[in-house]
Every structure is written in C-alpha cells, then in structure tokens.
Amino acid sequence: MLSRTERTVSLAVLLLAAVVTLYPLVALVTTALAPAAGSGGLSFGGHPSASGFTFAWRVGDFSRYMLNTAIVTVTVVVVSAVFAIMAGYAIALARPPGAKWVLYAAVFGFMLPVEALIVPWYYQFRTFNVVNTYWAMILPQVAQSIAFGTFWMYVAFRSVPPSLAESARMDGASPFALLWRILVPNVAPAVKTMAALVFLWTWNAFLLPLVMISNSSLYTVTVGLSVFEGAHFNNYSALAAGSVLAALPVVIVYLFAQRSFIKGIFAGSLVE
C-alpha cells in the first residue's frame, strides 16, 4: 500500500502542474475584464468591465475577423470531411485497383510541413489571381485536411465488419446509400474527431492567411489579432479581450468534445 504522505505529495505535484498550466489563461481572462486602456499590464480582480471587449469588437474589427475565420473554417471542415469520407471508403472498402497509392500520397501529404508548401502555394495562387481571396485560405487547408482525413477515415472504415456492407448490398442498397446511410453512421465517432481536429487546425492557421491575405477586410482572427497587437500593444485589456474572442470557439468545442480531440492526436502515432 502507498503511504498517505506519498499520495499527498503526488496530488500536490499534479495540482501544481495544473496551476502552472492554467495561470496564463486565467491571467488572460482577468486582464480582458479590466477597463480598457487602463493600467497597462496584467490585471487581476477589480470590477469586471466589458470595455475591452467592446473596443476589440468595434475598433479592432474583431466582428469581421471572427466572421471571416468562421466562413473559412466551416467551409474547410465540411468540404474536407465529405471528400475524405469518400476517399477513405474507396480505399478501405470499394478498393478499385491502384487505390492504395492515394493512401500513400495522403499519409505523405499529412507529414509535409506547411512551411515547405507555402512558397509554391503563394506563387501558384498569384498566377491564378486568387491571392487575397477566401479561396487562397480554403483550398490549401482543404488539401491538407484531406491528406489527414483520407488516412483517418481509411482506418475507421477498415474496422467496419464486412458483413455489414454485404448485407446492405444484399438488400439492394446502391453504393451511394451504402456509404452515406449505413457506413458513415457506423463510423460517426471517427468523423466527429476528424471534424474537431480540422476545425482546430483551420481556426488556428496563421502562416497561410498571413502570406495570402493583405486586404485587412479578409483577415482571419489570428492575423487580425497579430496586427491589432502591433497597433495597440499598450491596450492590455482590449488585446486580452481580442485574444479571448480568438481562442473561445475552439476552447468551447474542446470542452464539449474533448474525447474526440484527444483521440485524434493519436493519428500521428498511427502513421508510424
């Protein structure tokens, strides 16, 4: 049996780690609730005020940045999920000759760092005049998400018992109905995880919109926040409020679907 002391010490250490993890985030929220342009510096306690948020929302144009990010993120999540489900199904179950090569290409693509592709992406898009549009942010993000999703859905579909597809075919289900009505509901948790991760990656994307967008009305919230920081670095509460706004959607999704998020991070170890 473990001694009481050891148990207490381990709990203390684990709690200390939790405090260190949470402290910066708590400091951010309390600073966001301080009066705008007040003290300068982190702020704790005092009367909560929404003025930081109003400043960020109106003057900082965060309403627009949030909308832009939402448009890009939702499009990427939906489009890449549909295409990845289709490809994952084709490789795992329909298995036309040569399909495995798409799987290899997807795994390879999933491993490529954005930094290696950003330069050719930019010049490709400049040629086709799509720099400074939503497309310039959406298309590369969809491609990378498909690379991950194809592999992820392939693994999910492979674990579906073959008898399920077989009996559906016996009942005369078309390939379309088979996939969307029978197989997809069966792998719903994998789809949820994929959507959660793509949501996180797209919302968090920084280098891509930074390079592709110079028109401030198209800024995503990450680039908008970075530019806002440059212009109002002394307005701690407005900056903190903008930061909270930028972070909140992903944190909310995480708190509701944390199991999905955590399952997804094992994708990297599956590749090996």
Partner: protein, 294 residues
C-alpha cells in the same frame, strides 16, 4: 443466391464508384500537395526573386544553408528547441503519469482536460499572453513571482530558453495525453510483484515503466518533435526571431526570405530541408525503438 453474373456486375459498379469517390481527393492532393512539392524542389535549385527571370544555380541554395551563419543558426536553434518542445515535456509527463498511476489518483479526467488545454488555445494568443508574463516587470509576471528583473524575451542569452519554456508549457499536455493510455495498459500486478521483490521507485521505473512504455514514448517524442518544426507562429509573435537572430527558426526564415527579401530559392531549399527533418525524426525514432526491441 446471388448469381456470379450479378456479383461481377456489382463489383464493376463498385470499382467505378470507387474511382469516382477518389477523384476529389486525388485532385486536391495532386494539385495542392504533390505538384507544389515538385515546384518547391524546382525553386530550391534556382535563384529567383519572385518576379524576374529565374536562374538555375544547382545546389547553391542548399550549401548556403550550412555555410551562412543565419541559416545554420536557425537549424541550431531548432535543435535546441527540440529539447524544450519534446524531451522536457515527455520527461515531465512521464513523471506525471507515474505519479498518477502509483497514487491511483482520482479525478484523472480533470487533470487530462486541464493539461491538454494549452493545445487548443490559438497559438497567437499563447504568444501574446506569454510575452506579457515574461515582461521585465509588472503585476503577475514571472519576474514579479520570483523577484527577478530579467527581460527574458529581449535578452540575447535568455530569449531562446524563454521561448522554449513556453513551448514546454504548450506540449506538456500533449505528451501527457499520449502517455496516459500506455501506462493504464500496464497490469498493476506487475508492479505489485516488483514491490514484493523490494524494487524501489527508480528500479520500478527503469525495469517496468520505461520498457513497457517504449512505443508510447517514441510516439510522444515524434509527435512533439514534429510540433517543434511548426514553431513559426509562436516565434513570429513572441520575438520575431530576435533579439538579433537568437530565436530565429527555419520557418520564420522561410517567411522572411520568400516574402520580405525576395529570395525564393533559399526559402524553398530550407522548406525541403525541414521536410527531410520531419521524415528523419519520424522514421529515425521508430527504427531506433524497433532495433532496441530485439
């Protein structure tokens, strides 16, 4: 019974629909992953400012990475950051999962949710709040807590470890979550038996935990190390590579070379080198583990 004829007709239908379903993925992967990668290799062999005429220079851009002090320095910084992004979080989370296992701590769900939280906070936000916490002075800053007065991010000697500290804070939860299921898989009886034999904490750790978690540790090291290569956002926002070039990393150099200095060739060569590093880390750690296993 289904006749063989219906069966082969079905198979044909399946193959056709299979190709149809693969088409969008193939188009996206081909046009936006494979083709750009080929283009990146092509750029990396050229001297091009992004506007004028490109000139073939062979491997000059690559040799410069290892001779130019800024570019070589960025790779050295990356190597140092690997310690902070990968080794430190993995070591700390090994301690944490062990404490959790030994004390059979309750509320594991709580710790998991909290430790992983930094991973889902937008990186620009992480950089901003840590810039404040690492400021030379002010309420609630690291300096105020420890009674010091170091301008962490502005100091030539402290900036890189300070950024590294933020990276460790970020990746601790990632490593923790990657190791937790592994340690839960180890049957408690093994530890009980070791304890009966009088194995101490350290022996227990080296004889049971470490070997049984080998694969999980390898996965955690790989995933966190690959995250270190994506340090662009954190560095750009926190220090922008400074002071001087003390926190310059390959990702930031690519951005600067290609989009501010008009040196597309150098940027592309560095991108290819980063790609190679990702593959070396992924397959290197794996083969190391496989070899030690036998």
């Amino acid at each position: 019974m289904v006749s063989p004829r219906t069966k082969s007709r079905r198979r044909r239908q399946e193959i056709v629909s299979g190709y149809l379903y693969l088409t969008p993925a193939v188009l996206f992967l081909g046009a936006l992953i494979i083709y750009p990668l080929v283009k990146a290799v092509q750029y990396s062999l050229q001297d091009w400012d992004g506007i004028g005429v490109a000139r073939w220079v062979g491997l000059a851009n690559y040799t410069r990475i290892f001779t130019n002090s800024v570019e070589r320095g960025s790779l050295v910084n990356l190597a140092i950051l690997l310690v902070f992004y990968s080794l430190i979080p993995v070591a700390l989370s090994l301690v944490a999962v062990n404490l959790m296992r030994r004390s059979r701590q309750r509320g594991m769900g709580f710790f998991r949710v909290v430790y992983f939280l930094p991973q889902v906070v937008v990186t620009v936000v992480v950089a901003i709040v840590w810039t404040w916490l690492l400021a030379p002075s002010g309420t609630g800053t690291v300096n105020a807590l420890f009674g010091t007065g170091t301008p962490w991010l502005g100091s030539f000697s402290w900036a890189l470890p300070a950024v590294g500290l933020v990276a460790s804070w970020l990746d601790f939860g990632l490593a923790f979550v990657l190791l937790l299921p592994g340690i839960q898989r180890i049957p408690p009886e093994i530890y009980d038996a070791a304890r009966v034999d009088g194995a101490g904490l350290l022996r227990e750790f080296c004889r049971i935990t470490l070997p049984m978690l080998r694969r999980d540790i390898a996965a955690a090291i790989t995933i966190t190390a690959v995250a270190a290569l994506q340090s662009f956002t954190l560095i750009y926002q926190a220090t922008n590579g400074g002071p001087g070039y003390t926190t310059m990393v390959p990702g930031l150099l690519i951005y600067r070379d290609a989009f501010q200095l008009g040196d597309v060739g150098s940027a592309s060569a560095l991108g290819i080198v980063m790609t190679v590093i990702v593959f070396v880390i992924t397959f290197g750690v794996r083969s190391l583990i496989e070899r030690n296993a036998t």
